[in-house]
Every structure is written in structure tokens, then in C-alpha cells.
């Protein structure tokens, strides 16, 4: 038994170390930490816009913190935002370009950012507004030139003054008053979920994981003699496993239901704007079935109480982290992100998130069903082995 425990602990330690090492040493992680990637959708051929973009890219200190990424259409930019390739994107509409040309201030940029980037996006937009205002500096040369030409042409001083005043005010209207240069629209952390939805689902799934871990010890862990005695009385391994799993699942489902009820009530009283819909509840309940099967499988497979609790907790923690329960998984390397989606915790999150966000959740549902059946089938196989030992 001892080599098995050591092997299991070593395996978990190696997995966690490898994950940590790959995160902090990945190019993706390091580049994500250093630069703010801003997507631009639409036409930037306008002279003033081109000047602004050029200044942002080259002439301002922001060149060290900002990457501008051009996209052909908004769908492409939105996909990049959801994949965490960019932090936000701006849509430059024809109306906005026309407004610049007309020197009016009635059309704003459309600005999209994820929830996690919304705060920093506002700061960035202030910076961009400041840079845009700097366009006024070269424009002063234009005003001086206009004044000089008008004086040479013999215009009255009052007329020169008025023309310079009008063009100056036009610039001011256009640029200086753009304190709120954009409307920021929150798209959520990822996959179309709001921050509240994301963390409510992730924390609830993590709670369900821990709950299954606690409850399972009441239904498993009997000695082999009991299993043998039951089998000799004609109760097959399948009946034994289902006889333990179904009560475990019932306890878990009731517990989750009670806590969900409290969450709905608490949200109502605290005026939290989270729609805990029937679809969300159904999704969480279906995930609970898979978690119950996973907890049952782990407790059936592992030997020794301390070993069971320790290994299960570490696996749950690693799985939850890799699947983005505690923090958006965009900080992880691409390979780990993909793995995080494929493991049971990730399948559950993709499924419940998909149900809530109205996305396609077919594959995560199939994945959850496959995992559930596999966990139960392997548990039956292990029980058979225990009985025949």
C-alpha cells in the first residue's frame, strides 16, 4: 500500500509542479503580463484617426504597454477577445469617421472589453483620449498658418481672429471635449458569461465538488468482508455500487438544492442581479451527478482514509484551477486551457456555462455522460476485483 500512496502523492506533485512551471515560463503568460492588446475593427484610413493610431504605436510612451491588432470584422475581434488573444477592441464605425470629418461630437467609439479588463480599459481609454488631444499640438501650427495666410491676403484683424477662433473651437469641440471618448460594453470574463454568472457557477461547482467528497465517505469504505458477504447473498457488484451511489447522489442533490434555494433567497434580499434560472439549476444538478460519480470512483479506487481525502482534495483543487474556477483560465498556456476544458471539472463548467449563456453545450453534455458512465463502470470493475480477492 505504501508504494501506492507515495506514487500517488508523487504523481499529484509532479502534475502540479509541471502545471505551475509551464504557466510561469510560457511566452503567453509573460507577454500577457507585459502588454495590453487592443483590437481595432473598421476603417482607420481617416487622416486624423491614422495620425492618432500612429502616435499610439510609435510616438507615445504607450508603445511599451500597448499592442494594436487590426481586425477585418467584429466577429473576428470578438472571437479573439473570448480566446483572450486581446484585452479589448474598438469598433470604428463609418458614422464615427464622418463625425470626425464634420468635426462634430455626436458619435462615440464602440468599445468592448471583458469584465476583468473593464477597469484597466477605462484607464487605457483616458490615455488614448489624452493622446488624441495631443493632436491639437500640431493643429496649432495649422491655426498659425491660417492666421498668417489671412493676414497676407489682407483680411481684417477681427476676421482673422474670428476664423482662428472658429477653427480652434472646432478642434476643441472635436477633441478636447471627448473626455468620454467611448462607451464601454461589458462582455463578461469569457464565453458570454457576466462576472457574477461566471463566479456563481464556478464557486457553486467547486462547492458541489467538495460536497461530494464529504458525503461519499458515509456510503463507501466498508471492508471487503461486507462486499463478499453481500455477493454471496446474491447481491451483484453492479447492485452493490448502485445501492451506494444512488443514496449518495440523492444526498448530494438535496444538499445542492437546499444551498441553491438559500442562494436564490439571499440574492433576492441582497438585490444581486443574478438570474438563477431553471436552466442554471438543471445544469448544476447534472454536473452534481458526474461529480458524485467521480467522488465515488476515487473513494472506491484509493486505499486508506487519509490517502482518499488528500488525493481527492488535491485532484479537485488542481482540476478546479485548470478549469478556471478560481480565475479566468486565460492566464494559463493554451495547452493547459484545452486540457482544463476536457477534464471532468472543465466539462461541467463548459456545460453549465453553455446552458446559461445560451451557447452550444452538446459536447460538454456528452463528455459529462461519458465520464459518469466510465466512473461507475470502473467502480463496478474494482468492486468485482475486491470481492474475488
Amino acid at each position: 500500500m505504501l508504494p501506492g500512496i507515495i506514487l500517488m502523492i508523487a504523481l499529484v506533485a509532479i502534475l502540479l509542479s509541471a502545471a505551475f512551471y509551464s504557466v510561469v515560463n510560457s511566452e503567453a503568460y509573460q507577454s500577457e503580463q507585459m502588454r495590453y492588446k487592443l483590437g481595432i475593427v473598421g476603417n482607420t484610413e481617416n487622416e486624423l484617426l491614422d495620425l492618432g493610431v500612429h502616435m499610439l504605436e510609435t510616438e507615445d510612451d504607450m508603445q511599451y504597454v500597448l499592442d494594436l491588432v487590426q481586425f477585418d470584422d467584429e466577429d473576428e475581434a470578438r472571437a479573439a477577445l473570448r480566446n483572450a488573444d486581446i484585452s479589448a477592441y474598438i469598433v470604428i464605425t463609418d458614422e464615427f469617421v464622418d463625425a470626425i470629418d464634420d468635426m462634430t461630437n455626436d458619435t462615440k467609439l464602440k468599445y468592448y472589453a471583458t469584465s476583468g479588463q473593464k477597469g484597466i480599459s477605462n484607464v487605457m481609454m483616458d490615455e488614448i483620449a489624452l493622446v488624441a488631444a495631443n493632436i491639437m499640438v500640431p493643429s496649432e501650427k495649422g491655426i498659425c498658418t491660417l492666421r498668417k495666410i489671412m493676414e497676407e491676403e489682407g483680411y481684417e484683424q477681427s476676421e482673422v481672429y474670428m476664423a482662428a477662433y472658429e477653427i480652434f473651437m472646432a478642434y476643441v469641440d472635436t477633441m478636447m471635449l471627448r473626455g468620454e471618448i467611448s462607451n464601454v460594453t461589458e462582455l463578461g470574463i469569457s464565453d458570454g458569461l457576466t462576472t457574477l454568472e461566471y463566479y456563481f457557477i464556478s464557486m457553486f461547482l467547486f462547492f458541489a465538488l467538495l460536497l461530494t467528497m464529504c458525503a461519499v465517505s458515509f456510503f463507501t469504505g466498508k471492508n471487503n468482508g461486507q462486499y463478499k458477504f453481500l455477493a454471496a447473498k446474491g447481491i451483484s457488484p453492479v447492485q452493490q455500487v448502485l445501492g451506494e451511489f444512488i443514496p449518495l447522489l440523492t444526498v448530494n442533490a438535496i444538499s445542492i438544492g437546499v444551498v441553491l434555494s438559500f442562494a436564490i433567497a439571499a440574492g433576492h434580499f441582497a438585490n444581486i442581479h443574478l438570474d438563477i434560472s431553471a436552466r442554471m439549476v438543471t445544469g448544476i444538478m447534472l454536473a452534481t451527478i458526474m461529480f458524485s460519480a467521480m467522488g465515488y470512483f476515487l473513494y472506491e479506487t484509493l486505499v486508506g482514509v487519509i490517502n482518499k481525502v488528500l488525493v481527492t482534495f488535491l485532484l479537485y483543487l488542481a482540476g478546479a484551477y485548470a478549469s478556471g474556477y478560481f480565475y479566468p483560465k486565460s492566464i494559463l498556456p493554451k495547452l493547459l486551457q484545452r486540457a482544463g476544458e476536457l477534464i471532468p471539472t472543465g466539462a461541467a463548467f463548459s456545460y453549465v456555462g453553455g446552458v446559461v449563456a445560451g451557447r452550444d453545450f452538446g459536447w460538454p453534455a456528452v463528455g459529462m455522460a461519458v465520464y459518469t458512465v466510465a466512473f461507475i463502470a470502473i467502480s463496478v470493475f474494482i468492486r468485482k476485483r475486491r470481492i474475488s480477492w
Binding site: 466498508k222 471492508n223 471487503n224 468482508g225 461486507q226 463478499k228 458477504f229 453481500l230 455477493a231 454471496a232 447473498k233 446474491g234 470481492i387 474475488s388
Partner: protein
Amino acid sequence: MIEIKNIHKSYGKQQVLRGVDFVVEPGQIVGILGANGSGKSTLLTILAGLQKCDAGFFNIDGKDMLKNTKLKNQLVAYVPQEMPLITELTAWDNLRMWYSSDRLKKELSSGVLKLLGVDQFIKTPVHQMSGGMKKRLCLGCAMNTNPKLMLLDEPTASLDLECKEKIYDYFERYKDQGGSMIIATHEVQEIELCDKCYIIKDGVLVDYKYDGDIPHLIGRL
């Protein structure tokens, strides 16, 4: 009559049982002796239907127990070495898994459970019971179908003398009623209780007559 014929069992390349043959008459106790890992428990688990043998027959009154599982569950009781009890529950609750309420009351007042003395600790939780009480409760659970054959894997291991005597006393009564037993054991007292003994060695069963010579027995194992 209980017939066990030509039982073979291998784990991979290791042959554990190589043609085990013996007969148990009604009211007879047969002891299976052997060193640890010799195949005693394997033989009992095959007869209890917990695992399949590679070849062989196990008949009771001419009926094949290896194929007729339902009948086997009724005629054969198996008591493993580890206690098959739910420790959080009382003796009554454990027995209720196997007996209807009415039958349990009847057996406690004048039946097999009375003989085993389970009625004296019927309300005691299992975790508060002595080893002997637990073993008697196990036997009580196993006896719910009035079996013709009991398979016992080291039934009195690690019990004190008083507990052993109570259990042996029950074995004698069961035997007197025509019940048969196959006991896998290391205990000298159990060997003395047996009508026939076999030593299992290298997968083969050999007749053995215990004459009180323990060194000779050890040498044979």
C-alpha cells in the same frame, strides 16, 4: 450430499487449485488446512460464487450450484473472515437487512438467533460489541435462508476461549440438525471439531487425520 469435483483455478500462470475433489455428508464438518496463500480462501470463494473456477463441479443433492446461482444463494451460506456488519447500526438493524420483522422476532424467541444468543445483545450497536458477539451476529445474518452448507473462513480467529466455546457449541447444534460445514482454519480446536480434514498444498487436497501432534501438522503444511 455435497460433491466438489475436479475444481481448477489459476491466476495467470500460477495454478492455485489443481483438481480439488471431496464429498461432504449431511451433518459433517470438513476442515481445510493449509499455509497462508495455499488456496483455502480461494476454494471457499469459488464455492460461495464470488469468483469462477476454470473447471470443476459443485453439486448439492445432484444440483449444480455453479450454474444455479439462486439455489446456491439459498442453500449455501458464506461467512468471510472480516466482519460483514454495518458498525453504526445495532444488531437488530443489521439483521433486518436479511430477515423480515416477524421472522426476526420468531428467530430471536425460539430459533437460530436464540441458539446463537443474539437476543442478549439485540439492541447493542455493533461498534460496542465484543469480537465474539460480532461473530455470532455474522452467523445469524448468514443463517437467514436456513442453508444446508456453511462456508466459514477462519471463523474463530482472534477470539477469546469463551467466545470460541459459544460458537463451537452452535456448530455442534447446527451439525446435529443435519447442516454441513466447510471450515478453512489454522485453529487446533476447530480441527478437533472436524469430522474430516484435508491439507491443501500445491493446489492439491490431501487427506489428513489430526492426532494431536502439532509439529507433525506444521511439517505437513
